[in-house]
């Protein structure tokens, strides 16, 4: 049933994942000479972040534990802390944000990548489907102070929402706001473990990004003429015929998207079928009206 459609991929999930990650990719924490963040800054650390799911061999090749480190004469360690990791946990359709299935989004002004500059059609797509992306962000630290230092720079910015504006479909200039909602936080600390285990403290922050999945683009013709019959009453039994019909159209009618044109409008009493449009000279003819 879904076959016959040309392959398309807007990487909506990837863009949402990237947009979410970029919220946290520039967080820095300062270690100070005194507690409570007071005193001279001894060291400023940019907190590393990574998308948690990964292929093991990629991690193997570039990790802090990598075998290449020992052959290069560098010390092999387990990991660097503090650090952050995030992952997309689940996706659910958001019915509350769903718009009419017949609504369309058109690109009428921008030149779409790969399309001819001048054309009589525009790219169009049905309304995007609203999906909620549930993310978890991990802050992992060896001590409490580092973790709180990072966490306290994140939490005040979500009240509980922070909006991102994402350009999802290139050329369509479809920039949509993706509110990122902070849902809550949990903390785990293995300090109670039997002595002999390394301490690891993990804060798990749960977020929901209200994002979208997009249907395919299609070519639709330019709307060059609008016929608007106007009735004296909404009840068709009282007013079966329009009092006046307003016709608005592009002049010249053959103009494509980048050609010069004007818009002309004519009001015609009663209803009728338009019989003539544009003369050879490009001047607008009188509209033929019957009935």
């Amino acid at each position: 049933m879904l076959d016959g459609i040309s392959p398309y991929y807007f990487a909506s999930v990837r863009k949402t994942v990237t947009a979410f990650g970029t919220l946290f990719n520039n967080i820095k924490m300062a270690r100070t000479a005194e507690v409570n963040g007071a005193g001279t800054t001894i060291k400023t650390i940019k907190v590393p972040i990574a998308y948690a799911p990964a292929q093991s061999y990629i991690s193997w090749l570039r990790g802090a534990h990598s075998i290449s480190r020992s052959t290069d004469g560098e010390a092999v360690i387990s990991k660097t802390l503090p650090r952050m990791a995030y992952a997309l946990k689940s996706m659910t359709f958001d019915k509350a944000r769903s718009l009419s299935s017949m609504g369309r989004i058109n690109n009428s002004t921008e030149t779409l990548i790969g399309s001819p500059a001048n054309r009589s059609t525009v790219k169009s797509m049905l309304q995007p489907m609203p999906w909620n992306f549930d993310f978890e962000l991990l802050i992992v630290s060896k001590n409490l102070d580092d973790g709180y230092n990072i966490m306290e720079q994140i939490l005040p910015n979500f009240k509980p929402t922070f909006p991102l504006t994402v350009n999802f479909v290139p050329g369509l200039e479809l920039k949509l706001d993706v509110p990122v909602i902070f849902n809550g936080i949990t903390q785990s600390d293995n300090y109670e473990l039997q002595i002999g285990e390394k301490r690891l403290i993990t804060w798990t922050l749960d977020f929901t990004a209200k994002s979208y999945i997009f249907p395919p683009l299609s070519d639709v013709g330019l709307i060059k003429r609008v016929i608007n019959p106007m009735f004296s009453d909404t009840d068709p039994t009282i007013a079966p015929e329009p009092v006046v019909t307003v016709i608005t159209e592009v002049n010249p009618f053959e103009a494509e998207i980048n050609d010069p044109y004007t818009v002309i409008q004519e009001e015609i009493e009663g209803s009728g079928v338009r019989e003539a449009t544009v003369s050879a000279s490009g001047e607008s003819d009188a509209f033929g009206v019957s009935g």
Binding site: N25, A64, R69, S78, T80, R83, D146, T165, I195, G196
Partner: protein
């Protein structure tokens, strides 16, 4: 005097006399020198103690002491090994090493190894953190404890300064640092995320955490 043990054989502190203990201790020391490996003991210096959270995140490591130790297991490291988790691939190995008490005190000047201090294993190029010190196993042979059993796991680097005199350890900050705007941590994706986001985010929106 208690007569619970045979005083013709021992003095009440287990079998063995002082001379026997010294002989046994020298044999242990010789055995470790013979079959052990050279380890660098790196003591931790506490810089700022947080008396509320009971932690010190500004520790430094400024010295190292070469000392022979005997691995408990000569066939492999213990622990879970490589683990694929939410922090990517991490190395969770552990090792138990025995050091002569007498030699440890002589070399380091410390009365005993401390939890939190580090061990550099040059043969494996691995840095370990001491998590437990057992000073009673083996259990007072000939009436005296003669070795420290040191249990350690591969170190989690938390951006401490190293000036230990061991080049591989002192260069940790050079190869793993995330200092200020510098991001050379091999597992970090901060820059990749930023580059990717440049093409999709509307920059008219202000990022509260800084530039995208």
């Amino acid at each position: 005097m208690s007569q619970t043990v045979n005083r013709f054989i021992q003095d009440g502190n287990g079998p063995g006399t002082t001379s026997e203990q010294e002989l046994y201790e020298s044999l242990i020391e010789e055995n470790i020198r013979f079959s052990g490996v050279e380890i660098f003991y790196i003591p931790r210096t506490s810089v700022r103690t947080d008396n509320i959270f009971n932690e010190d995140i500004l520790s430094s490591f400024t010295s190292s002491f070469a000392l022979e130790m005997m691995p408990d297991n000569t066939s492999s490291f213990g622990g879970s090994g490589l683990i694929m988790g939410r922090l990517g691939l991490t190395l969770e190995q552990e090792v138990i090493l025995f050091a002569s008490r007498k030699r440890f005190v002589e070399v380091t000047g410390l009365p005993y190894p401390n939890i939190g201090d580090l061990l550099w294993l040059p043969f494996a190029k691995k840095l370990f953190e001491i998590l437990n010190v057992d000073y009673e196993t083996p259990f007072y042979q000939v009436g005296k404890s003669m070795v420290f059993g040191i249990r350690a796991q591969v170190f989690d680097y938390t951006h401490q300064p190293f000036t230990t005199g061991v080049p591989e350890v002192d260069s940790l900050g050079d190869v793993l640092e995330n200092d200020g705007d510098t991001m050379i941590d091999p597992d970090a994706q901060n820059d990749a995320i930023e580059t990717e986001a440049d093409g999709i985010l509307d920059f008219s929106e202000e990022n509260p955490f800084g530039r995208f």
